[in-house]
Amino acid sequence: MVEEAFARLHEAVLNADEEAAVKATRDLLDAGAEPQAILERGLTEAMTELGRRWNRGEAFLPEVVAAAEIFKTCSDLVEPALLARGGKKAGHLVLMGTVKGDLHDLGKNIVTAMLKTAGFEVSDLGRDVPTERFVEEAARLRPKIVGLSALLTTTMLEQRTVIQALEAVGLRPDVRVMVGGAPVTAAWAEEIGADGYAANAVEAVEVALRLAGAAAQDAGGRKADG
């Protein structure tokens, strides 16, 4: 029963079938499966497999992004049971958002989805995120990485503002900051004191793995190169 539900959950995530994924997750919880196992074996492994398929050109962005949303829905279902047993969420936490004044979030959403396929846990603050909100959430969640997206040459300046704000409250030494977006370059990332820059979603995963030190440790994060 439990094994069968794990298989169903795996398939449902790969097929981006939210209804089936939620049902399988509930069945697993009802059957008393370990919440940690549901997260790792059920959800994270399916996302990692999807990442491999994406790398081979067999899966496409709509499927990856949808699977990432299902991942979120299902891990929220698991979370109470997980916390009750003193467990922790799988993977390193990344705090993501599009900076203040910028309403574009397609690129950020794609990076978010791809990070999830690599085993990261992502807390997505959305778009047009005020600097204070980045700081508050960073203080509360203590992520390994903060990702700042900007699509406009005008809003990319906000990336520097966020980094400065993190410094002002003393959080900067504890988080690595990644920046991205169409006008952003490696030179800009260096100029504003960011730790990493990625030109596309695949590279974002590589940079995140490097920053989290996960590539070497494989602490829940799996390399997305299939």
Binding site: A16, G57, F60, L61, P62, E63, V65, A66, A68, E69, L103, D105, L106, N109, I110, R127, A199, N200, V202, E203
Partner: protein
Amino acid sequence: MGEPQVFELLSDSEIEAVHNAALAVLSETGVFIDHPRALEHLAGCGAEVDAASGRVRIPPRLVKEALAACPSSFILYDREGREALRLGAREVHFATSSCAVRCQEGTAARPSRAEDLVRLTRVADALPEIDLVSTQVVADEAPKELADSYRLYLVLRNSPKPVVTGAFSEEGLWDMKALLDAVTGGRTEDRPCAVFDVCPSPPLKWTAISAANIMDAASAGLPVEFVSMPMPGAATPVTLAGSVVVHTAETLSGIVLAQTVRPGTRVVWGGAPVGFDMRHGTAPLSAVEATMITVAYAQMGRHYGLPTHTYAGLSDSKLVDAQAGLETALSGTVAALARIDIIAGAGALDFVGTQSLEKLVVDAEVCGLIRRLLRGIEVSPDTLARDLITALGPGGDYLAQAHTRRWFRTELHLPGPVIDRLDRKAWEEQGRTDILARARERVEAILKNDPRAPDPDRAAELDRAMRRVMDTRGCPSLPFVGAAEG
């Protein structure tokens, strides 16, 4: 509305005017046929024949009867006898080019050999955008007497797709028929997997070989594709309308010959219009006028209720370069919008004289784009997506929607790896490749796979038939043809 409108250049009254002019040419001027058997036959059918000059004047009545005898559509099968495609259904099919004597190698071209035809056939077979494989090049090492049948043999050995081919001599057609019978188990007539191109010599002439090929193909039940070559200002009037008249008259005369030999013979209203460059004296198939003539004669073909063919989606460039890309895409798109049944040209460079493996792979991408274009825009409540637009509102993200997952594979054409859509940084990291390099990679990848050979019994039959042809023509050995058993 779905599919885009058929692109046309002639009005109904203009079609009628071309038709009347062509009928007048046939009955008053006539065509020259260099073959006593054809002359005798046509005289017996009621044509006015001057045996001494070879001139045949064809009355409108004969033309009308011949057209009435033509099937308006027919099915082509694959080598295994499975239904492959229907011609005359206003559906576009892509074929490789078929006349080359050279192969492109880097920036140079060299005489094509058997190995080249095998590779070209295997690559064409692996490309889903290519519906018909043609006998793309001749094998330089084959004696002239069996160059046509050997070409067909190599294609049948390496791809099951329907074939566009042609004979180089009177006897050649019968040799080729024997190969087809061998590989299909004698089903050449009821399940044809090959179309035979026959070309008049412009203006208004049929060589002995062409005339014999038409009559023999008809009597053997093989489909015939007429490939008239208007050349405005040189072999046909410089005016495009006048060139279409000559094309119509030539093709109608071929149809009369075929249908009087055997009513019901499957025919294709084809052509290979060329331009004539008034500076260099060359005959570019990619001249826009050539493509316009194609559109016009395709209208004539449809007017007569016949399947159509043309050479388009090809280039006169000597390199797989930007000229090759723009010429291929333009003529291919226009011919497809004109709903030509068979668009032949994939892989061709240099006035169809040179065939390129890399260009074949690139051209398949053009065919893929065109196929998407021809499907048009589907309009329904679900595709209009009003509910979804309302639900997501301003700033909505459509990427994660079930609607997107349901539709993206059919709505969005995804090109192959030959087409670069990487962001600049990724492109730079992956070696800054150009399309030629990426095409070469795809060719190498395809050639790593095994060819789709006939099943062993049929392959053995085919080999035996080829060896019989070689024995008859006094050719002891050829590459890829196994030694006789026992």
